[in-house]
Amino acid sequence: MHKQIVIIGGGPAGLAAAVAAKDSGIDDIVVIERASSPGGILMQCIHNGFGLHTFKEELTGPEYAERFIRKAEERNIEILLSTFAIDITADKTVTCMSRDKGIFTIEADAIILAMGCRERPRGALNTPGYRPAGIYSAGTAQKLVNLEGKMPGSEVVILGSGDIGLIMARRMTLEGAKVKAVAEIMPYSGGLKRNIVQCLDDFSIPLLLSTTVVDIAGKDRVESVTLAKVDEKLNPIPGTEEVVKCDTLLLSCGLLPENELSQQMGVTLSPVTGGPVVDESLETSIEGVFAAGNVLHVHDLVDYVSEEASNAGAKAAEYVKGLSGKAGKGTGYKVETGNGVRYTVPTIIHPEKVSDLTTIRFRVGNVYKNPEICVYIGDRCVIRRKKMICAPGEMEQVVLKKDDIATLKDGETVKVLLENI
């Protein structure tokens, strides 16, 4: 089988990319989705607050997904459900597997990677103890409760104060469980303020900062966990241990872009984001292979996933139509970070390929009050924006004008940094 554009993943990124590619004039598109229905992780995110930027109203996850599923249906976009992409080669041959079709391959002119991210598992946390039942990632618990109608336990401790952990603290409480504490190893929460207030404060659930789990007791089932304070180097402080009785431990300890397929095909990954290195067109190190959404870098808001993926879809369509890329492109200009900015997406800009406006998304490495977000093109400051606060948990963005990018000269770079910190 041959397709002009193959999209790996039918979650919010894959659906938005497919819709945009179709609207850009490419009809020969297929979306590969391993679940039995499209929508991705949104389907289990039944809380509200999605879509404020895109639709100017607060939707729940499934409602947000439905809007994009409908757009895909209206455009007759082919979605292969219950189908795994198990390999992609550098020449863009995708090997897929499904119960109906067995193993088959699709040759693609362009590929959009939209596989999303995964939760950091217990094995990556080095927490001592046996392997009793009752330890779940927060997302697994979310799936059990919200899609399968099963409660993972009744007395809960949550490690990590990422948004999924906070959301699950409230969800488990509403379903009758007792959430005893949320422990966060950092001195601040990575979750949104709104979630801390509405998921913890509203239910008097304590958020224990600079605290981690140092032991898990129980052999068949979790019986208790031991919490301890940590010092500035995040090492547990002896003498601060406290045993908390519980039957369930939920882990909300970070999300990792899921790039096994990208690595198999030889796409260059960023050591900071864990996602592919991309240019202004969201094109990876392999020509005609694009990436968007949480596979590229983990987002806070699905609205920005959709926006980014739409861009990737449009750029992939341009590529297929031969409007860009195929003739070969220059090496481009680097986007450098400094002074509090941890990473940017993209990290390469080709002035000859940019649209009128180019969005650069980034995260800062710490909490900064009253910083100025600055962008320099060469030594020329083109953006200086005062902020009341920048925090690691909130993605920032700057939008560059084509005319400014056009002034880049050999040997210069684009720099994104914070000043006045």
Partner: protein, 127 residues
């Protein structure tokens, strides 16, 4: 003089906003509010609404009979008083919807006397 401290949710600053107030007929008297700790006007507005009429949209699931999934996700179609959130959650546990259920279907009306309806936020087909 009574006193209440809350975290503003409008931005990552998370200002600790303190409201000092007098009680009038057992309720906080808005005329007496002295609001401190906010960095911007949004903090003041937030504190006032949290003191006088705190509301939340409740989301959850209800059981479904005869569906491809055992539960369907739901929400209150308007925010309900914060004090009633747990009561609404308890009511949700008693509701049984019959499949098929479509987004927007009302599965329970006027929940806990709040005027809010419980509406489905996902689709569950007949299995």
């Amino acid at each position: 003089m009574e006193k209440k401290t809350m975290t503003c949710i409008n931005c990552p600053m998370g200002c600790q906003v303190t409201v000092e107030y007098e009680l009038k007929d057992g309720k906080a008297d808005p005329g007496s509010f002295v609001i401190t700790g906010n960095t911007c006007p949004r903090g003041k507005t937030y504190a006032e609404s949290e003191m006088t009429d705190p509301v939340r949209t409740v989301t959850g699931t209800v059981s479904v009979t005869g569906g491809e999934l055992p539960v369907v996700s739901v929400k209150t179609d308007r925010p309900v008083p914060k004090d009633l959130v747990m009561d609404v959650a308890d009511e949700l546990m008693k509701i049984k919807a019959a499949s098929p259920v479509k987004i927007g279907d009302i599965v329970a009306a006027n929940i806990c006397g709040t005027d809010a309806n419980i509406v489905a936020t996902s689709n569950v087909r007949v299995c």
